[in-house]
Structures are given as C-alpha cells and as structure tokens.
Subunit: 212 residues, 2 copies
Amino acid sequence: MSAARRGLMLVLSSPSGAGKSTMSRRLLAADPAIRVSVSVTTRPPRPGEVDGEHYHFVSQAEFEALIEREHFLEWARVFGNLYGSPRAPVRDAIDAGFDVLFDIDWQGAQQLAQNQFRKEPDADLVSIFLLPPSMQELERRLRARADEPEAVIAARMAKARDEISHFAEYDYVLVNDDADACFRNIQTIVAAERLRRPRQIGLFPLVRALLD
Amino acid sequence: MSAARRGLMLVLSSPSGAGKSTMSRRLLAADPAIRVSVSVTTRPPRPGEVDGEHYHFVSQAEFEALIEREHFLEWARVFGNLYGSPRAPVRDAIDAGFDVLFDIDWQGAQQLAQNQFRKEPDADLVSIFLLPPSMQELERRLRARADEPEAVIAARMAKARDEISHFAEYDYVLVNDDADACFRNIQTIVAAERLRRPRQIGLFPLVRALLD
C-alpha cells in the first residue's frame, strides 16, 4: 500500500496531569514503529527511575559540556533543572523509518521546530497538544498523583497555565476528556501523517517505474 | 472531544481509471459531513448524467461569462472541454463546518491552492493523489470501462502520464492497489485533518474559559 518512508518527530505536549505520559506509554506499547527520545536531565532520579531508560541522569557540568558540543536537538530549564533531547539517536531512528516520540514542553517544541533535520517546513515534525477538560480536573489529577506540599501544587498549576497558553503553536490540539477517544485520535493523526507525500521516500522510484 | 470546526477543501486527484470516482462515491456515502463540489462544464451530458447533480451543463458562452464574473475557484480545459468549480457553495459549506470534496485534476488543484479562502498556507486545502499500481492495470481498467476507440484509449493514457507526473504537488499520495485499504487511508487522512488546530475554531473560546 505504501512505499518506504522516512520517520517523523512526534511531539506530545500537555500540562502535567493532562495525560501526556499515559498517552506516550500507550502509544509506545501499541506501535513498534515508534521509539521514544530519552532525555538527558540534571534532575535527580526519582524512586524507580532507571538511568538510560527514563532519563540519562547527568550533573550540571556534564549537561553544560553537552550543550557546548551541540549534543542536543533542544534543551530547556524547567523548575531549575535542565532537560535536553540528544540529537544523534533521533536522526538515526528517523533515517531508519522509525518515528520518534518527544514528551517535552512548549520550549522544547519551539526549539525542535527550528532544529528539524530537513529544510522543508514541518517536514520532520508533527506536534500534538493535549488540553485538560477543566482546570479543576487538572488540579484533582495533580493532587491524586502524589502527596505534595501546597506550594508545589500551586507551582505546577502556574506552569500548567503557562503551558496551555502555547496551545496555538501546535499542529493538532486534542481535549483529553475521554482517554480512549483521545488515544484513538493520536493514533489516527500518526497514521495519516505517515501517508504524507514528503515522508514516503519510496514514491519517486515507484513513479519513475510507472512512467518508464 | 473536539470543538466547533471550520470545514476543509478535500482534493482527490488521480489519472482516469485509478479509482478517484469510486473513492469519491464511497466517501460521500460514508460521511455526512462531506459535500461534493458540483462542477460546471461545457462537455455534453453523457447518458444518465443529471444536470445540477453530476455537473452543471452550460454552453461555451455561458462558461466564459462565468469566468468574467469570477464565479470559479478554479477552472481548466481538459480534452477541449471547460470545467470549473463554483466559489459560493464551497465557501458557504466550509463556513458551516462541512468539508467539500473536489474530484479535479492537477490544474484545478494548483488553482485551488492559490485561491484558498484563508491566508494561512494550506489552511483550507487537503490534497490526495491516487496512483495506480501499474500502467498495465490502469490501461486494463480503462478498456474494461467502455468500448472506446484506440485513439481515445491512447489519449487517456497520455493524460494519465501527465497527471501522474504531478504527484509531488499533493499533500498525500496513496497507491490504490487495494480499494478497501485505500478507502480506509482516505478516511484516516480526513479524520486527522479535521483535528488540525487551525480548523478547530472552537478552541480559542475553550482555552479562554480554561484560563479564566
């Protein structure tokens, strides 16, 4: 049905608590053609987090050396910690026809848009923003997740409002009021984006063979 | 799940015999949110064709008067006959949230791209090109369809090669080697394109309500 294709960079952003991590996990479990970009961070590991799987954990000095060496496609500071997406594994995966999922915020998405591998606008990047059905529901989810001090909840809610204010910079926006429907919509978007002509690198030889 | 949306212009092009008409018919039957753009033509009606349903049939002089009055979103000459898409019904349908299907060739698609209603690039338009699995199969289908003189078959095959040479101007390209799979892919593309942020005109009030 379709010819060989070049992978895409799939950015999934949302305020914390709006379902980004759940959707990412479901997408990776359901679709073997999608790999995740493992971020580098200076944040200390949380209980259960595995170095190289959830994050690459490094010191501040190590992170700064990686910035110097242009190791990152994008990096940003969030709540005083540095986060970055390494360039080489993403390029290799895309060239091999895999899609690469980025679980990043609007700062990262903006930088990725500037640092695509190809010159064509939006050639590599597909960005999806998840909105919560309401701020009350978002706060409820944040409180249900962990027993955190009021100040931390307040800071996360402020960050959520900041994140939401950038919704218009994304290709697709979904309201996550029904997790299953939201997940199906993400899968539909990925399926359609794979059919975009610039990603089907096998088309030119195919058409040449047709017209020969 | 999704807010109010603005409709899109869906262009389906293919060489004659590659499945464009079948796919259009299935799409219109399956999806009540899609309307078809009824073209105006100077070509005489074929047996069974209904004026106002399959085409609006007009004289050459009438067609030229319509061009003068900027009645058309696009028009083109094919095999000596004039074909055009009227502007007003398309704009009305899109404003009302319907999608409008255009069964047109590459000349029409190029003009539509220039005559979108909104300034944003690709805001209104989604274009899909259907490729035949092979030229032999295309010729077989053309011959099976009607008992036509060799010269007509040859002219259609030449037009098909011309049409195929424009595949790279389309957003999506599908090889129609399995009609059901091809149809599902078209439905997937339409479903995803409806989720694009610029088409969801209900998002701004929704986000304003979230952040208020």
